[in-house]
Each structure stands twice: as structure tokens, then as C-alpha cells.
């Protein structure tokens, strides 16, 4: 088998499109996941003990089962429960919920890492709960949650390859189809590896830049 770069050139438009779908699903799933995860984390922190325990159940289930099984359950089992979703909506919803579970834990750890005294100082000065979250907790934990968030983003990008199994027309689906169509398996796998790797490296780099920006005000923790 010889490596034939022409295959890649010939299918460039499809490859770009597949990359686009992967990026779009990844970013959208993550954005919704971050929002939902933040909501879950704040609700767990301020909603009382019972709410905290009740919310822990779905979070732990989502974190304790493979993403693949979750997709299968929703995609193939959903219709039997009256939830018939196309591959893309199903993929997006699964990615959102899955990432929300993980992000909620990141935020929970972030909240916990802000010294309680900083919150108390704000309470003493009369800041309301919402003001404390917005003005103290969020900015203070931004630096703490950034590295795990970037890590998580990378993990989610890689998990999104699993969506190929329910025919979402993303990167892995597209390229492996090209591979079997052209009998260019070597090229396909190689290309997949390179594209994912490039996206991961780029996002890690972005993460480091953001971290450097954020930490300018904090040479060392007091």
C-alpha cells in the first residue's frame, strides 16, 4: 500500500465540510454543556442538601458510563420511548448533556477552591448571593477552572469521533467513508490522526495563552 496524497486533494471539500461539522458540534455541545454545567453546579451549591443529592445521580451516571453507550441508548432506544431524533440533534444533545456532567464537576471544584473567607468578606460587606457569584466567585475561579476546562474540551473533541457510529456526518465518518470508497485506508487513518491532533494542539495552545493572560494579576496565590 502506498501513500497517495491525491486522494486527500480530490476529497478536500468533503474533508473540510466534515471538519466543519466536527468543530460546530464540538463547540456548540461544549457551549451548551458549560452553561448547563454551571447551572447544575450553582444549583447543587445553593439548592440545599436534597437538591445536591438528587442532582448528583444523573451527574454520576453520565460520568460512570461510556459516551458510546449513552449515544446508543438515546439514538436506538429513544424512538421506543417516543424520542425519535436525527443523528445530528441526537449527537448534539448527547454531547451537551455529557459535557454538562463533567463541567458541573469542574465548576464545583472551582467553587470549592475559592477560599471561603473571600466569600465571607463579601458577605460582611453586604454583597448579595448573585453579586458574590458574579463579582467574586466567577472571576476568582476562572483561573482555577481554566486548565481542567481545556483538558475537558480536548476530551470532548475526541469523544465526538464516536458520533460517527450513529452516522453523524462529522470528520471520522467523512474520512472513513472516503477511505472505504477509495480503498485508501492508510491515507484515511493518517489524515484523521493529523487533523484531530492539530485541533487538539491548537486548543491546548489557546488555553495556555488564555491562562497566561488571566494569571497576569496573580503571580502567586496569597
Amino acid at each position: 500500500m502506498i501513500f497517495d496524497p491525491n486522494v486527500i486533494l480530490k476529497h478536500l471539500p468533503e474533508i473540510i465540510q466534515g471538519t466543519g461539522v466536527t468543530l460546530a458540534l464540538w463547540i456548540a455541545g461544549m457551549a451548551f454543556g458549560i452553561a448547563l454545567g454551571f447551572l447544575v453546579a450553582t444549583t447543587r451549591r445553593y439548592g440545599g442538601k436534597a437538591t445536591n443529592v438528587v442532582l448528583a445521580i444523573p451527574v454520576e451516571i453520565l460520568r460512570g458510563t461510556p459516551f458510546l453507550v449513552q449515544i446508543f441508548l438515546v439514538y436506538y432506544g429513544g424512538p421506543f420511548a417516543g424520542l425519535s431524533l436525527g443523528p445530528i440533534p441526537c449527537g448534539l444533545i448527547c454531547l451537551t448533556v455529557y459535557s454538562a456532567a463533567y463541567y458541573s464537576e469542574v465548576f464545583r471544584a472551582g467553587f470549592a477552591a475559592v477560599p471561603h473567607g473571600h466569600v465571607e468578606a463579601a458577605e460582611c460587606l453586604g454583597l448579595s448571593r448573585v453579586q458574590i457569584i458574579r463579582r467574586i466567585l466567577l472571576p476568582e475561579m476562572a483561573l482555577i477552572v481554566l486548565p481542567p476546562s481545556v483538558n475537558l474540551a480536548v476530551i470532548l473533541l475526541k469523544e465526538s469521533a464516536v458520533l460517527s457510529i450513529i452516522t453523524v456526518p462529522e470528520l471520522t465518518t467523512t474520512i472513513s467513508a472516503i477511505g472505504s470508497q477509495e480503498y485508501a485506508f492508510l491515507e484515511a487513518i493518517f489524515l484523521l490522526a493529523v487533523i484531530y491532533w492539530a485541533i487538539v494542539e491548537a486548543s491546548a495552545k489557546l488555553g495556555r495563552i488564555a491562562e497566561a493572560r488571566l494569571s497576569t494579576f496573580r503571580f502567586s496565590a496569597p
Binding site: I61, G64, V69, L73, G77, V162, T172, V200
Partner: protein
């Protein structure tokens, strides 16, 4: 859903467990070596290890598995399915664990090493008697997490021809048309295993002597 189907899933869980377990152990051994290289002061030694880690952390496991299964034969290494699955999971987890361990070694407080230095320990004795146990203790929670991650990732090894829990559920679902029951059962099996690992991990962690404060 009949008990027979569930029993088939349980049998397939044997593959899930054994492949994950072997990969975790092999991966850990490899990770210790890798982290030692990563801590080297010579850029020349570090570079290949960093490249290795960057690749295995930057490429989806699905693609890695295909890589190993379908491309290794072209360099004359024709590995059977089980071996390919174990190699894939091992290399992947080694990359993650090596990073964890590196962090662990770096956060062994300097003072503890100086104390050993004062008592006349050799470099090797310091590594074995002080650094390794403390780094292990510091990275233990991350290690347990990694074990859980690998267990979940093992659902992907069906692409190289292993019928583990997920693949079995998928096969059974396509002949019995009971996807909800089968995939829920698969999820349950994963949950029980993952939670057991987490529980054992937490128990062991508490039993381990002293963390660094």
C-alpha cells in the same frame, strides 16, 4: 428482557474488565518510565516522550485503535485483535498517567528530599524510598480516575474485533430489537464497575499512610 441476554452481557463484561485491567497495569509501568524521561533535564531525552504523549493525548482512541490494528502490519507487526486492543489502551493510558506522575514527582516537597539528602541517602535511594511512594500517594486519586476512564474507553475496542459489553449489547439489540433494555443494562454494568473502582480507590486512599500536607 430475559436473564439469558443479561448473562451474555455479563460474560462480555469479562472482556471489558480483563482488557482494561491489563492495559492499566501495563500502562502504569510504561508511565513510570516515561515520567522519568520527562523529568530529565536533557531536552534530547524529553522530546520523544513529549511527542509520544502529545500524539496519544491528541488523537481519538478510535483512530489510535484503527492505526494500531490496520497500520502496524505494514511495518511487519501483525497483531491479533486482543493484543491490538491492549496496545491501544495501554499507550493511551500511559500518556495520561505519565503526565500525572510527572506532576506528582514535581510536587514532592523539596524539603523532604533535602531531609533525605542530609541523612546521606544516594540519588537512587531518594528516588525509590522517598520520591516514588510520595508521588504515588499524591497521584493516586488521578490514577483511579484514569482507571475509570480506560474502562469506559474500552467500549471502543469493538472496532478491532473484540466483543465487549457495548458491542454485545449492540449485537443483541439488532437481533432482539430491545435497545432500551440492552443499552440500559450495559450502562448499569459499567456503572457498577466504575463505582466499585471509585469506592475501592477511595478506601485504599484512606488506608494509604499520610498524604503531604
Amino acid at each position: 428482557m430475559s436473564f439469558k441476554l443479561f448473562f451474555l452481557l455479563l460474560k462480555a463484561a469479562g472482556w471489558t474488565l480483563s482488557i482494561s485491567l491489563v492495559s492499566i497495569l501495563l500502562g502504569f509501568a510504561l508511565a513510570i518510565g516515561l515520567s522519568a524521561v520527562l523529568l530529565s533535564s536533557k531536552r534530547l531525552y524529553r522530546a520523544p516522550a513529549e511527542l509520544f504523549i502529545s500524539f496519544f493525548r491528541g488523537v481519538p482512541l478510535l483512530v489510535q485503535l484503527l492505526f494500531i490494528y490496520n497500520l502496524l502490519p505494514f511495518i511487519g507487526l501483525n497483531v491479533p485483535s486482543v493484543v491490538a486492543a491492549i496496545i491501544g489502551l495501554t499507550l493511551c493510558t500511559a500518556a495520561y498517567q505519565a503526565e500525572n506522575l510527572r506532576g506528582g514527582f514535581e510536587s514532592v516537597p523539596r524539603g523532604l528530599i533535602e531531609a533525605a539528602d542530609m541523612a546521606g541517602f544516594s540519588v537512587r535511594q531518594i528516588f525509590l524510598r522517598i520520591k516514588v511512594p510520595i508521588a504515588m500517594r499524591l497521584t493516586f486519586p488521578a490514577l483511579v480516575n484514569e482507571a475509570i476512564m480506560i474502562l469506559k474507553s474500552s467500549s471502543l475496542v469493538s472496532v478491532v474485533g473484540i466483543v465487549e459489553v457495548t458491542k454485545m449489547a449492540q449485537d443483541l439489540a439488532s437481533s432482539t430489537y430491545l435497545p432500551i433494555e440492552l443499552f440500559s443494562s450495559a450502562a448499569l454494568i459499567y456503572l457498577v464497575i466504575c463505582w466499585s473502582i471509585a469506592l475501592i480507590g477511595r478506601y485504599t486512599e484512606r488506608a494509604l499512610p499520610g498524604g503531604v500536607k
